[in-house]
Symmetry: C2
Subunit: 228 residues, 2 copies
């Protein structure tokens, strides 16, 4: 399948590599291809510059955002949360009627660590993206775990933990759930309901950050334990 | 031990009943004893009026907030989140140097369901209470699960799920962790750090509410699955 990944950070790269390894035709979108390729320093998290990663992932093509959005039948959105709405708004026509998997969270690192949320409580990034792209089928998911777990849940406790989906379009959610199961190996998926439920998953980020601090690792996830 | 529970709602009652059953001398504090006893209607959640509950829990004494605060060596705070700071501020002298277990969440039901939070992201109810009571040892815990699970975690999956503590005073947290384990039977407790980490646990409430909707039961909890 023709797939677009938007964002060249660690989340975007992780999905692009995994999707390419599954045989998909993957483009990864960025604002300025030349600038992204010219970066020579690791990012704030110590990840190598894109050009180094690209050498080991030659099948993934780096293109401008609009070209990626045109190419993808399904879009994996992994932008920085603070610019996601602004970027996506420019791609409205190319994303018309397509499924957009919104992975990014509205994290604001500008005020020090741990980051706060730019939007929460009475709104969410998932809802803001759906409003900016009224004819795109926005499904929020994977935003509650780290990048490596997102594409390889089986690496932790044989996959015995949960992931969540939020979205207004039932068929799109069914397709995304199929992708999560069949491509990535997620076993336990809870459909929370409409895109407004993205408020719930996005607001778990402050907890994730404190657990990361307490546990000393980001390699963890929630298992929802019920009586049934 | 002499214990005070503040708040006559379902959370306060559940703790008072459990603590009395363990042999403690429990008072439960309210604003206006006569008014609380005069209630004849079930509350919004369908819980019976206090006087009915009292008949089955005669050992628990209903007293004004200040008398309860004086009585308790340890305080279980289970007020409505929206009035908690206002009430506690009036009890500052009686709560001096004591451990206060802050269970309440800053839930605002005034704007319809699901409730939003009155404070989040850059502050928390736990922090606001600690600021209002600078000489009290505030420990936030139990706020991420329903009342019945709070005092009886073993009723779900034999207790194989997690609870969290946040607070600035290490000795107070050690004591609260001991209470959680020995009185209530919690097996898995994560110390998240300072009271600021209450932002993390309080902000999971919107997720709890959506999971409640998706699962059709409030009888669930998070198990933190890690690689270690």
């Amino acid at each position: 399948m023709n797939i677009a990944v938007l964002g060249t950070g660690i989340v975007g790269r992780t999905h692009a590599a995994k999707l390419a390894s599954l045989g998909h035709d993957v483009t990864i979108g960025t604002k300025d291809v030349k600038k992204t390729l010219a970066e020579t320093e690791p990012d704030a998290m110590g990840n190598p510059p894109f050009s180094i990663w690209q050498k080991e992932n030659k099948k993934v093509k780096l293109v401008p955002f609009a070209a990626a959005a045109k190419h993808g039948e399904i879009i994996f959105e992994a932008l920085h949360g603070m610019i996601a709405v602004e970027v996506l708004r420019t791609l409205e026509i190319d994303l018309d009627q397509k499924i957009l998997i919104n992975i990014s969270n509205p994290l604001d690192f500008s005020k020090g660590m741990p980051p706060t949320l730019t939007v929460s409580n009475t709104d969410s990034l998932g809802e803001q993206i759906q409003k900016a792209l009224p004819n795109t089928k926005v499904v929020k998911t994977l935003n509650t775990v780290g990048a490596l777990l997102q594409v390889n849940p089986g690496s932790l406790a044989d996959g015995d933990h949960h992931i969540f989906v939020s979205g207004n379009d039932t068929k799109a959610k069914t397709k995304v759930i199929e992708i999560l199961k069949e491509w990535y190996g997620w076993k336990h998926i809870i459909d929370l309901g409409y895109i407004t439920t993205a408020r719930g998953t996005e607001m778990t980020l402050p907890m994730w950050l404190r657990l990361w601090g307490a546990l000393g690792t980001g390699n963890f996830n929630y298992k929802i334990v019920t009586s049934d």
